[in-house]
Subunit: 190 residues, 2 copies
DNA sequence: CGGCTTCTAGAGTTCTCTCTCTAGAGAGAT
DNA sequence: ATCTCTCTAGAGAGAGAACTCTAGAAGCCG
């Protein structure tokens, strides 16, 4: 066999398929070996433990999401909130498998057993994201006078809620759902 | 030992504690035996398989929720929707452990491996609930002219979204969250 | 060509889980 | 008092998962 017969991303894709078909707990090393058609040696060469595999699945999905969404924090607060809602829905529509990863929630990936490197990588990205969110919320509070709990619901939680119904049923996200979410956000922040 | 040493509900409570501490997959027969401090014989006497235990946990939680919420479907559609949202939040605040069960979603309880009796019991309750929801949505469509996807989001998904953030972080639900949700629903249906 | 390094294959160990099975305790009936 | 039925206790079998280990294949560099 030549070097690097198997693509690492193909192994992660197999893990995500297991999650989509079941739950995050369905991501087992044995399952990935079967699903990806590779040997246990190949998997363990890349991911020394199951925790490392789970960390890689989570970090890849969340970094993809952040990379595509981050630009929409720029600009005037209400417009930014509306754009974030719309593009969150659009991203989930375009990447339903990775969206399922995010919807499962960090807790399902057992972050307490991750290596320090995986943990730090996640925390750094999350801190960056949280800074953006806090700045946006501060802007919205100043502009609308609403309290944080309400803004969190409207700006962060509603887009996820809109999408969860379709993703967890394995159905496609309606094409106009982004419009609906954006309208709701604008109406609530008016 | 006398008859019925252990309470069946204590066994289900132990199962729910395992879910709250981890995930639905963390509900194992072996785990419940440890958590509840009973013998495997006692558990298997009540629940012949793990699937039967999972079915009992799910059905108990969902029936408690439906029993308390069902009355709020009565009355004028917009008022009913507002009441449902407010009381959904209130129920989750009062029963955070059972709320976690519902938030995990039916899929996490592997309903395909349930016994026909458990399955039918669930489906009967769900059908009853769905009839109420459909009737409410029909009323709201007539009154507001909005499409189903939007109404589902506002009336059904938003209350769950409001509550999920706090429950999955293990934090208490803010006392005024019910107000926030009710206001949002009324505003969107105006 | 020959050695070094990276990667792959898969057998084997240990652990945990589900489920079965047997022995027996205790309450109520006759 | 003893018999029956319900429930409990816990050992043990079988399956599957995480992880370890060893042998070796194949590219690269001299």
């Amino acid at each position: 066999m030549p070097r690097l017969v198997h693509d690492t991303s193909a192994i992660l894709d197999a893990a995500v398929r297991l999650l989509v078909a079941g739950s995050a707990d369905a991501i087992t090393i044995a399952g990935v070996i079967r699903e990806a058609g590779v040997s246990s040696g190949s998997v363990y060469h890349r991911f020394p433990t199951r925790a490392a595999l789970l960390a890689a699945v989570w970090n890849r999905a969340v970094e993809g999401f952040h990379a595509e969404l981050e630009e929409h924090f720029a600009g005037e607060p209400v417009a930014a909130a509306a754009a974030l809602g719309r593009h969150t829905v659009a991203w989930c529509r375009a990447h339903p498998a990775d969206a399922r990863v995010l919807l499962a929630g960090l807790g399902a990936f057992e972050p307490t057993s991750w290596s320090p490197e995986s943990r730090e990588r996640r925390e750094a990205g999350q801190a960056r994201w949280d800074r953006h969110v806090r700045r946006l919320l501060a802007g919205l509070r100043a502009e609308t006078g609403r309290e944080t709990a309400e803004l969190l619901l409207v700006v962060i939680d509603v887009p996820y809620a809109a999408v969860r119904r379709y993703l967890s049923a394995g159905r496609d996200i309606p094409a106009n759902l982004g419009d609906i979410v954006e309208r709701l956000i604008r109406a609530q922040l008016a």
